[in-house]
Symmetry: C2
């Protein structure tokens, strides 16, 4: 490497902490953090490996953004306010342009949500990024997967399938020109404010990282319930509808990951208050179905009801 | 992969949490943790990459132990009591024997110190292990690098150079047969109890991961002081002395990393109480030198004083 590890960290990532709860930031054996009294910590870790989670040659600024976004999305799915992150970066070589771009993308998103990078490790090795994020949430308000109840409305923030379309375009499987689809794949917006608005209000919540069918499936399994979705209610943007009309996989919006929207359930008596509550946090959502007593996941489409398990439910999950 | 990610995590790592402060362990979008009121969090992250930090073919049980040990060592160097860890594991393929061994080594050490694995991510990719660890420490008791004071005694737990000798043996650079040297390299014992005994008592502390000269150098730089070490006081076990007598690099014990001992400084008026205080925690240490007003790191050896900066101080650091 042309510059040493310590110099590299200093140049691109060190700066005085901005959060009052960071007693010591980068530079000692550990960071020292002072959590807010009475709050729980929500903690998550995610790894992105070149060639597995992103294509070789991905723009480093987008990658810096996405590496942090996927962890903030997990915090959002618990209803937690993001606080501190660490970054473990394996790099085959020290490319200062690449690092500068990566750091810019990472820092911009961190600053937007007031998140502080408090520790890291840089090593030589195949390109791989591991981000651990810690957020704060009241114990009672935390959003679990296991708390969906019979009769709950099932809601989704944002739209479905755009990131999946972006991947199809990047892989050359679709001739559509949809820059916003590629942008949604490469620079997903974690639904942090939506998560905060749902803490203590929604029953169950998950972020859509592996595809709606798979991720909602985790809620159903953990909660011991089933669900029926309405095809017409799925918020598919027009390029996704166009992709399907042109012969693309019609299940793609249910199967594709990387949308990083929140899928959550709300008790019927709270549904009327939901929209205005989310609007107060600058967020919005649509209802896409309802929790049933009958186990399994069903889809109402064109007058019929498809049993997604019988259709090969496993095929809706991404490979590990 | 022959078994999916969720199944893999479940089989090798899931179990009901044992710590009362783990509200939710593995299985949701985030772990939920309830930190002890009034304590600070000490947080650290370390990555081990095959071919960089360990040799290909390293025994998986030893690797599971070491991946956790290096992070617990960072917590010890802050005087923190280890609490929760996350594990991000990149594997080229799913080898159940390898995973079983790795999980055994990891879990044994975690159980020994009452640490709970609360989250993880497994991905396909070149073999790489990232562990993040969080410990608890009082804000006033936390051991920084920047608090060494003129006149402090400089102390070291355990012995020096044994891990370095182990690496020389594994690389075929030494014909000595010293199983305990290889064991010290592959299964380092983090000085958790020593760190707890030093919290609020020592002035500055660091763990020896990059070599004593480099790591003590971090304390000196952060504290704005210098130091003189006594060669005869360095606690080198007989195989290390034998390695030097047989023509091996005499600076190896100062240069080699991976010992994971604690190097710390103590005010003169507290030195008398140090040994019995550490003994109460089942630990011990020796004095190897003293903090000077004069900047830089010096070594008293054979009647002379060597300026380690003039000798090429940078050469005592491992490459990044």
């Amino acid at each position: 490497m042309s510059i040493g590890e310590f110099e590299l960290i200093r140049r691109f990532f060190n700066r005085p902490p901005r959060r009052f709860d960071v007693v010591e930031g980068i530079g000692d054996d550990c960071a020292l953090l002072k959590p807010q009294a009475g709050k729980c910590l929500a903690m998550t870790v995610d790894t992105l490996v070149e060639g597995v989670h992103f294509l070789p040659g991905t723009n480093p600024e987008n990658l810096g953004h996405k590496a942090l976004a996927v962890s903030l999305s997990d915090l959002a799915a618990m209803g937690a306010a993001p606080a501190w992150v660490t970054l473990a970066l394996s790099l085959p070589e020290t490319d200062e342009n690449w690092l500068g771009g990566f750091a810019n993308g990472f820092r911009s998103l961190a600053d937007h949500y007031g998140v502080e990078l408090v520790g890291g490790d840089t090593t030589r090795g195949p390109l791989s990024i591991t981000v651990q994020a810690v957020g704060l949430v009241g114990e009672e308000g935390a959003l679990r997967r296991s708390s969906a109840r019979w009769g709950d409305g099932i809601y989704l923030t944002g739209e479905l399938g755009l990131a999946g379309l972006g991947l199809e375009i990047l892989l050359g499987n679709s001739a559509l020109q949809v820059p916003e689809a590629v942008a949604k794949l490469e620079r997903p917006q974690p639904r942090v404010n939506a998560g905060l608005s749902l803490a203590g209000f929604a029953n169950a919540c998950i972020d859509v990282s592996d595809g709606l069918a798979a991720d909602l499936g985790h809620i159903l399994k953990a909660s011991g319930v089933g669900a029926t979705l309405d095809w017409t209610a799925l918020p598919m943007p027009s390029p996704v509808r166009q992709y399907i009309e042109m012969g693309g996989d019609e299940w793609m919006p249910l199967r594709a990951g990387d949308d990083y929207e929140l899928c959550f359930t709300v008790s019927t008596e709270r549904e009327d208050a939901l929209v205005s509550r989310m609007a107060d946090f600058g967020s919005s959502c649509v209802r896409i179905g309802r929790i049933d007593q009958q186990m399994g996941l069903r889809l109402r489409k064109g007058g019929g009801v498809f049993d997604m398990a019988a259709m090969g439910y496993k095929h809706f999950t991404n490979g590990a």
